[in-house]
């Protein structure tokens, strides 16, 4: 399932609880614009609304880049703080989500860099599991998380952002600071690598 920006904004508008049923995307955008302007004028309630609307997707962006759920939480909080401090410089006519997720991606990349400097140890054998059991078997998740360690960090981020979160190649490129074509090629290589690794694992059994 692919979640596009439009859907995200529809969700946003629903969360804002507009009075007359399901709003159009443009209604959602104008509501979000109003929230941004109010937040820029100092309304913390408006900023809280923006947090409420965007935190799940912000978490997903961060989770795709960092290794653990805890780091994703830290990156989300840092990202929102950066966004709050930079809010005056944001032009309300621009899409807020794209701006925010770029900040989230930067906060996550900073965290990854800091972690690398701090623990110069080798990468763990497996990508740490999310803290919540989503209902799939532990064995499957273990194998998949092991396969993910064979990808480069960027490939892993790209495939998660694309296949799990539904971001487009262009959006991913914008977030990670790489050209769209590179995001496309990373995705292709990541998929091929995962297919190969998982196939090898199966044949070993």
């Amino acid at each position: 399932m692919r979640v596009d920006t439009g859907n995200a904004l529809m969700t946003a508008a629903t969360t804002i609880e507009l009075p007359f049923g399901m709003p159009s995307v443009s209604d959602a955008r104008s509501d979000e614009r109003a929230l941004v302007i109010a937040a820029q004028k100092g309304s913390s309630e408006a900023f809280a609304q923006l947090v409420r609307v965007h935190q799940r997707r912000a978490y997903a962006v961060c989770r795709a880049i960092v290794l653990t759920h805890e780091d994703a939480e830290d990156a989300v909080q840092e990202g929102f703080l950066h966004a709050y401090r930079a809010l005056d410089r944001f032009l309300p006519d621009q899409p807020f989500g794209a701006w925010l997720y770029r900040i989230m991606a930067n906060a996550s990349l900073d965290l990854v860099r800091r972690r690398k400097v701090r623990d110069a140890d080798e990468l763990p054998d497996t990508v740490p599991m999310p803290f919540r059991d989503p209902g799939e078997s532990d064995e499957l998740r273990r194998r998949l998380s092991h396969a993910l360690t064979k990808l480069t960090e960027r490939q892993r981020s790209v495939i998660v952002l694309h296949d799990v979160e539904g971001f487009t190649h262009g959006e991913i490129g914008g977030m990670l600071g790489i050209p769209e074509g590179t995001a496309r090629s990373d995705l292709h290589h990541a998929r091929a690598a995962l297919r190969r690794i998982l196939k090898d694992v199966r044949s070993d059994l």
Partner: protein
């Protein structure tokens, strides 16, 4: 093994596995708590003394610049007035014609003033 039926060469199935692995917390309680933590940190930023300082930096700089300009203008004007008064005092006729008393040979008051000025 049953688990691996979910992962095949098909990209969609890999994506399904990834979604399962990267699933975000689902409970509203978790998100409410995260939002509260974020807003608490935002409130800390708002209350920080540096923010207050930052808020006052521009007005303070503007006020300082205005004060500096006013002081400069006032000093200039004061200096100008002082000069005018000094010149006026020098050019106005003295109450007691001291120079005439000392040097009676001087031709007129004007000459006496000039001599007085250059003689100081």
């Amino acid at each position: 093994m049953t688990d691996f039926r979910l992962i095949s060469n098909d990209d969609d199935e890999v994506a399904r596995g990834l979604r399962s692995l990267y699933a975000a917390p689902a409970g509203d309680g978790y998100w409410n708590e995260l939002e509260a933590r974020i807003m608490a940190r935002v409130a800390d930023v708002e209350l920080g003394w540096w923010t207050e300082l930052d808020r006052w930096v521009r007005p303070a700089l503007a006020a300082a610049a205005v004060l500096l300009m006013a002081a400069g203008v006032a000093m200039f004007r004061a200096h100008e007035v002082e000069g005018d008064i000094a010149a006026e005092n020098m050019l106005s006729s003295p109450a007691v014609p001291v120079s005439t008393a000392i040097r009676p040979a001087l031709q007129d008051d004007r000459e006496a003033r000039i001599r007085f000025l250059f003689g100081r």
